[in-house]
């Protein structure tokens, strides 16, 4: 099918383009490890504080980092699409007979692959620090992170391509990122929050994804929060891919 072929061509080009700058590859791999080394020890001290969720500190912390990786790794790709648009690459590709949706899907696929590599590095490093997690749970966790990454990278491409300006895009990311970060319990679990803050955070879908991932890490796969978190991620990924494809299609309107 030409859709898959076109998607693979775009994926391959995007991947080779990323590899042409080894500095970014190294920074990309260092990032999760820095979080682990510089923030992890702080969190270990917190386990005795009332309200800290059950489980090993790493089982609480690593799922949060994974979700953060998915959200933030994806969010910034919009800058790249603005750069590509300005270089004339997007218009050039839209004149080819290639499938419009492939133009975004191939890029999203590259982002998900990068994210998966980062996530695996993160988990392996955390295992050295003392994280214990069943293998099946790990696969489930990676699937959820992949869905998150695909969602945010599509949304970011969509936003970048509709705004076509870094100056407008950067504040959007900041406005969106900070509340999501604080209200999802990524850094500190929401179970430690006062009641009003917890209610606010309940509206944030990402909190439930983090909670679901933590349950998976504890091996509690058959509790309600897990299908709930996965359901939310699936809905998000569908909405995001649809939005991204729509923005690409509407470029010619």
């Amino acid at each position: 099918m030409s859709f898959f072929r076109d998607t693979f061509i775009i994926f391959r080009r995007a991947t080779l383009l990323s590899l042409q700058n080894p500095a970014w590859v190294i920074i990309g791999l260092m990032q999760p490890i820095l979080y682990l080394v510089l923030f992890g020890p702080l969190l270990l001290r917190m386990t005795s504080v009332p309200g800290f969720p059950p489980g090993n500190a790493w089982q609480v912390f690593v799922p949060g980092l994974l979700v953060q990786l998915g959200i933030f790794g994806g969010s910034f790709v919009g800058f790249a699409i603005i750069n590509e648009w300005r270089s004339g690459v997007i218009d050039r590709m839209m004149v080819t007979p290639a499938h419009r949706v492939s133009l975004i899907a191939g890029r999203v696929l590259r982002d998900v692959m990068v994210l998966m590599i980062q996530a695996i590095v993160l988990v392996l490093a955390a295992m050295l620090f003392g994280l214990r997690v069943p293998f099946g749970a790990l696969l489930l966790a990676l699937a959820l992170v992949a869905m998150l990454g695909a969602s945010f990278s599509s949304l970011s491409y969509a936003a970048g391509l509709s705004m076509k300006s870094e100056d407008a895009f950067a504040p959007l990311i900041n406005t969106f990122a900070l509340p999501v970060l604080l209200l999802s319990g990524i850094l500190l679990p929401m179970s430690m929050a006062p009641a009003w803050l917890r209610y606010v955070s309940d509206v944030n879908p990402f909190k439930h994804m983090v909670e679901a991932l933590r349950a998976v890490f504890r091996g509690e796969i058959f509790t309600f929060i897990v299908p709930f978190g996965f359901g939310l991620s699936l809905a998000l990924v569908l909405i995001s891919l649809w939005t991204g494809a729509r923005v690409f299609r509407n470029q010619t309107r």
């Binding site: 061509i9 042409q20 750069n83 218009d91 004149v95």
Partner: protein, 323 residues
């Protein structure tokens, strides 16, 4: 549309495009009719903001027309956009490649998007680079090329699938005179070697003049003139002739004589100098001088200036292209 339209490279009828801004609707292109024959090089000339790029983008499937229809490379623009895409090449004004990407990566992926294999893309890419004097850049990042090289690379990108029709948007903007002349000769040889139809937009007179078999002149979203450069100049402007005489009295006599010439226009007398315009000045001038000799008037200076496209544009729109 007519079946005959498929014989042409482009036939457009009533092509329109309007944009909605927050406060109003702007008609960027207000109904364009045009025909481009196969193998022609047609220049689309007009000032910035006249609607050139908008028209081009519509013909290239990058922008949906608000109204009107077109047959491009034998395919209906509205019903068979994919057929159009397969048969045309498009080189945008702002370039086509990423600075960071290697030339090979951009060329091969572009070829693949047109359904060619990686090997075929490599083979054609290298051959095209050679044809455009770009040997040896295969493994270099696009950003390391000079302006002229990068522009020629853009053309390679637009030709990788051997389109029968190629659109060039402002091909030589920002290049130095030598690089421009070089680019023009490459574009011309494209048509001569492969029979490629070339449709280019430009706001440069010299580019339109040097390159095109035929010109379409656009202003305020409408086509206001059409024809070969020489023909347009002859028809719409004529040569500018300046006679310098000994006295103002002689000048007055000359003004009268010149004014009586067939098709003479804008006859003005300033002191002992007379200006006027006349088509085909070189053949009119000897006769005029003979008549003046009969009147005992002897010019001390005669100047004849060929019209420029700017004169044509001024004549068509009442303003200069450089405004």
């Amino acid at each position: 549309m007519l079946e005959a339209a498929k014989e042409q490279a482009i036939v457009a009828r009533g092509l329109k495009r309007s944009y909605k801004t927050r406060t109003e609707t702007v008609d960027a292109v207000q109904g364009i009719d045009l025909t481009v024959g196969r193998g022609e090089i047609v220049g689309f000339l007009g000032p910035n903001g006249a609607g050139k790029t908008t028209t081009l983008k519509m013909l290239c499937t990058l922008l949906e027309p608000t109204d009107g229809e077109a047959i491009v490379a034998g395919c209906d623009l509205r019903r068979d956009a994919r057929g159009v895409k397969r048969r045309i090449g498009y080189v945008a004004q702002g370039g086509t490649t990423m600075r960071e990407a290697k030339v090979s990566l951009e060329i091969v992926s572009q070829a693949q998007l047109y359904g060619l294999s990686r090997q075929e893309g490599e083979r054609r890419g290298k051959a095209l680079l050679r044809a455009l004097d770009l040997d040896g850049i295969w493994d270099r990042p696009c950003g390391s090329l000079s302006g002229g090289q990068r522009r020629r690379l853009d053309i390679v990108m637009g030709l990788i699938h051997e389109p029968e029709l190629v659109f060039l948007d402002e091909p030589s903007t920002g290049l130095d005179p030598q690089a421009r002349a070089n680019l023009w000769s490459h574009i011309r040889s494209l048509r001569d070697q492969f029979g490629t139809t070339v449709f280019l937009t430009t706001h440069y007179m010299d580019e339109a003049d040097a390159l095109s078999d035929r010109l379409l002149i656009i202003d305020h979203g409408r086509i206001v003139g059409e024809g070969a450069s020489a023909e347009l100049k002859e028809r719409l402007s004529g040569d500018a002739i300046t006679l310098t005489l000994r006295t103002a009295e002689d000048a007055a006599k000359s003004q009268e004589t010149a004014g009586a010439l067939e098709n003479a226009a804008n006859v003005v007398c300033e002191g002992n100098v007379v200006h006027f315009r006349v088509p085909n000045g070189a053949s009119v001038l000897p006769g005029l001088l003979r008549k003046l000799t009969d009147l005992d008037v002897e010019p001390i200076g005669v100047e004849i200036a060929r019209p420029t496209l700017d004169d044509v544009f001024l004549n068509l729109t009442g303003r200069s292209l450089r405004d």
